[in-house]
């Protein structure tokens, strides 16, 4: 399946990835190959088979509405590159 560089660029922007020109061409080929394989799978007759959303045949895993201790502010912020008080700090979000 043929994937254009424009499609690669769109997907890269959605994923916030910056790609070089070589990478765009490389990934266009690779994505085309992956989707080509999916095309091949589509040849199978799946009439009457529900789309599989989960590989494990399991349903209804619940928890009760009971409070568990949180991990605490210091642990929560331990990996934060930047913080102010007990907030994470990120580059200004303009709105």
């Amino acid at each position: 399946m043929n994937i254009s560089v424009a499609v690669v660029e769109h997907v890269a922007r959605l994923a916030r990835l910056e790609l070089s020109e070589e990478e765009k061409n490389l990934f266009a080929g690779q994505m085309g190959a992956i989707l080509g394989y999916v095309e091949k799978l589509r040849e199978l007759d799946t009439e009457g088979v529900l789309p599989t959303s989960h590989a494990v045949p399991m349903e209804n895993a619940f928890r009760e509405d009971a409070e568990c201790p949180s991990i605490g502010i210091e642990k929560a912020l331990a990996n934060a590159p930047d913080r102010v008080g007990s907030f994470y700090r990120v580059p200004k979000v303009i709105e």
Partner: protein
């Protein structure tokens, strides 16, 4: 050209659970930033979300109360986008197969009933909160508080069946009443527990094709919803009449200016690439579960309003006011169950009680005049012990002290005087004193009758039985 507005609403209902939708962190409001977080709601690698069963129960309740069908097998999906308040880079929501579908609400528009379709209700997690500027140290950058992240929400999506801002507000108020009535949402719009996005478009009257819509975000009061929709309708009409075209975009309502403005930058992200969340297994709701929930539902506002009209012979209007909230309706019914005239309870609840609650900013649940106290008062009136006028004085005292009305009447000597001898004595005194007015009355100035009644009531400090006063006074003035 005349234009027809077309409006659809997406309402986010924050559910009143103790914990978040996929983890056991508390959902309480106003705690220190990031104190209510754990690996699941922080989106740390390897953390596994597990669904809060109460969220499902609340969602089924909401669905059944808005005439939806409950989807037997529904799945959670990831909605992918980047924003600093969304730690995982995706929001867990539902896309295909939401838990509730194809419902409706009947709204009242200027006395006419109109059915508004509900496309779907789905469960999802809320994002965190961004803080700008108003915290010291945040002059640069924005602060992220993830306490709200993963808080359970229902998103209720209406069909584009609404045709005016009034219809939108009417629909919204009814939905608000239902979710608070069910006890699944605290309904606090200022804190964002019930918030609304409005999709607004206009099309020429008679057209079959919908216009391009703008989505107005997060309007947090009924008043603002009305303002925002009206502004947006006008903006789009003017734009089209000036030869422009409406672009599909997200707009933000600014309550200070009453205007909506474009939110740039959110647009390209509309490619959400939904896919089933592999961390969460499918949700299967069998008929038994639905029926169990249906049986556990309280009587809903509309049913209760109808019943109040039938059982207590109340007017449409009175029944509507008394069923505005479940607490108020319960209060009314507790009174009526104490064997007293429903109409007088209705008058007092809608009158003195409501007025005093409003004046003091008290909720009906905290009303110091409990149903037994109010009924005690009404029985004193019915039995002729006190007059309706004195009852107001007793009521105020009950409100202040919470004392039994009979005790108040006793202590303050407010018992109504019905003894004709005593009243006659007062009347004689007044008629002697006001001889001039008596002459005028007898020469045809009938209106003076009210003056005499007033004088007698005043002289008796409001305690004379008005019926007896009227009768005796009339006899004395006419008869002689």
């Amino acid at each position: 050209m005349r234009f027809q507005p077309v409006i659809g609403l997406e309402v986010h209902v924050q559910l009143k659970t103790s914990t978040k939708i996929f983890c056991g962190c508390s959902t309480s409001f106003g705690s220190q930033p990031n104190s209510q977080t754990c690996p699941v709601c922080l989106g740390l690698p390897g953390a596994l979300p597990v669904l809060n069963k109460k969220v499902v129960e609340f969602a089924i309740k909401a669905g059944l109360s808005t005439n939806c069908s409950i989807t037997p097998r529904s799945v959670f999906a990831r909605k992918n986008y980047f924003y600093p308040d969304l730690p995982k880079g995706y929001q867990i929501s539902q896309f295909e197969d939401p838990i509730c579908q194809h419902g409706w609400l009947d709204i009242d528009v200027n006395g006419e009933t109109k059915r508004i379709g509900i496309t779907r209700i789905h469960m999802e997690e809320d994002a965190g909160k961004l803080v700008h500027g108003d915290v010291s140290g945040l002059e640069e950058g924005s602060g992220v508080d993830l306490n709200r992240a993963c808080t359970p929400l229902l998103e209720v999506v209406s069909e584009p069946d609404l045709r005016s801002s009034d219809e939108a507000v009417s629909y919204l108020k009814q939905l608000h009443q239902i979710v608070t009535w069910l006890g699944i949402c605290d309904g606090n719009m200022e804190e964002g527990s019930f918030r609304c996005d409005a999709n607004v478009s206009v099309m020429p009257v008679g057209s079959a094709t919908l216009g391009t819509r703008a989505e107005i975000k997060n309007v947090n009061s009924f008043k603002f919803v009305k303002q925002a929709i009206e502004y947006e309708i006008q903006r789009q009409i003017e734009l089209i009449e000036d030869g422009g075209t409406v672009v599909q975009e997200t707009r933000l309502f600014d309550p200070n200016s009453g205007k909506t403005r474009s939110m740039r930058g959110k647009e390209e992200a509309h490619d959400y690439r939904y896919f089933p969340d592999p961390d969460l297994v499918p949700l299967v709701i069998d008929e038994a579960w639905v029926e169990r929930t249906r049986h556990g539902l309280p009587e809903l506002p509309e049913q209760r309003r109808q019943r109040f009209m039938t059982d207590f012979a109340l007017s449409d209007y009175d029944a509507g006011v008394l069923t505005a909230s479940r607490e108020l309706a319960d209060y009314f019914e507790s009174c009526v169950s104490l064997d007293v005239n429903a109409k007088s309870v209705s008058n007092w609840v809608m009158g003195e009680i409501t007025r005093s609650l409003n004046d003091s900013g008290t909720s009906i649940a905290q009303c110091p005049v409990t149903p037994p106290l109010l009924v005690g008062l009404l029985k004193l009136i019915d039995g002729g012990t006190i007059s309706g006028k004195i009852a107001k004085t007793v009521f105020d005292e009950m409100w202040r002290s919470g004392k039994d009305p009979a005790v108040i009447v006793e202590e303050q000597g407010l018992v109504q005087v019905s003894d004709s001898g005593a009243i006659e004595a007062i009347i004689d005194e007044i008629l002697t004193r006001e001889a001039g007015q008596v002459e005028e009355y007898r020469s045809g100035k009938d209106k003076l009758f009210g003056f005499f009644v007033g004088q007698v009531m005043k002289a008796s400090k409001g305690k004379a039985n008005p019926a007896v006063v009227n009768e005796l006074l009339l006899g004395k003035l006419k008869g002689r």
